[in-house]
Amino acid sequence: MTNEELIEKLKLIVKPYVKNDEGFKNMDENTDFLNDLKINSANLVDVILDVENEFDIIIDNESMEKMLNVKAAMEIITTKLSENDRQ
């Protein structure tokens, strides 16, 4: 999966929780879920659960701690997917 494809998938996942459409329009690697998209922090759990379901991965607490922006989410997804492939 290319980075562009990954961002597109993430956009679909976060869309229902976004409160700032302007931030969503410009969503890229540097976008922060809370500050830029104004996603409320309880919905961050939904984003994490939706990511787990979509990519069939498990996001442990240590990874979840960093999952506050698009860049971190992409890194975590890529790492977890490669771990799945090795199994």
Binding site: K19, N20, N35, K38, N40, S41, A42, N43, L44, V45, D46, I48, L49, E52, N61, M64, E65, K66, M67, L68
Partner: protein, 192 residues
């Protein structure tokens, strides 16, 4: 030092389905999950514990910096219906939670008594966009603070630092006063 967090009950019910698979396990420790199971109104217990964690997070990051999402690390202990404690690593915070039909509001403090709090307020927000609501809240805070300290409103400013943490600044005065602000749906609150 204080931190606060408010949850609009109606909006929380619309925004979050805490009963969805995995949700509770991501946020709450097993002891907290037991509080929820045992509660007469589990919905309110979910948001009570959540607001306790969030209010403690606000103090913790003011003290030590950082930006992270680790709700399980903030472990809640309920002392009674309203009072509790939140523990993260070696830190202990005391909490008071107000629960009614409209909102759940927690204030966390580094001190056992919230008596050191200079000023706090909780109010209904008019319906308007998020940015205007923020301006409305800032004005409320400035008005109340100016009234209490007999300072000129024009010279007081609410400003967030580079980590997004809000402070009150006064023109011609280098010191800054920490202010914790929370808003969700129709409700907002602040404490100084």
């Amino acid at each position: 030092m204080t931190g606060n967090d408010i949850v609009d009950i109606e909006l929380a019910a619309a925004e979050s389905n805490w009963k969805r698979k995995g949700f509770i396990e991501k946020i709450f420790t097993s002891a907290e999950q037991q509080y929820i199971t045992d509660a007469i109104t589990p919905d309110k217990m979910v948001w009570k514990l959540w607001s306790m964690k969030e209010s403690a997070y606000k103090i913790y990051t003011r003290q030590f910096g950082g930006y992270f999402f680790a709700p399980q690390k903030f472990s809640c202990i309920m002392l009674n219906e309203t009072s509790g404690m939140v523990i993260i690593s070696t830190q202990l915070y005391y909490t008071i939670t107000i629960t009614n039909e409209k909102y759940i509001y927690s204030i966390a403090s580094t001190d056992k008594s919230t008596g050191e709090m200079l000023l706090h307020g909780c109010f209904i927000l008019p319906v308007m966009d998020l940015l205007k609501q923020q301006q409305y809240i800032y004005e409320k805070i400035i008005n109340r603070y100016a009234l209490l300290t007999a300072k000129e409103k024009k010279k007081i400013l609410v400003w967030k630092n580079e980590s997004g943490v809000p402070f009150l600044y006064e023109q011609g005065n280098k010191s800054k006063t920490p202010v914790s602000i929370t808003h969700h749906g129709s409700y907002a609150a602040f404490c100084i």
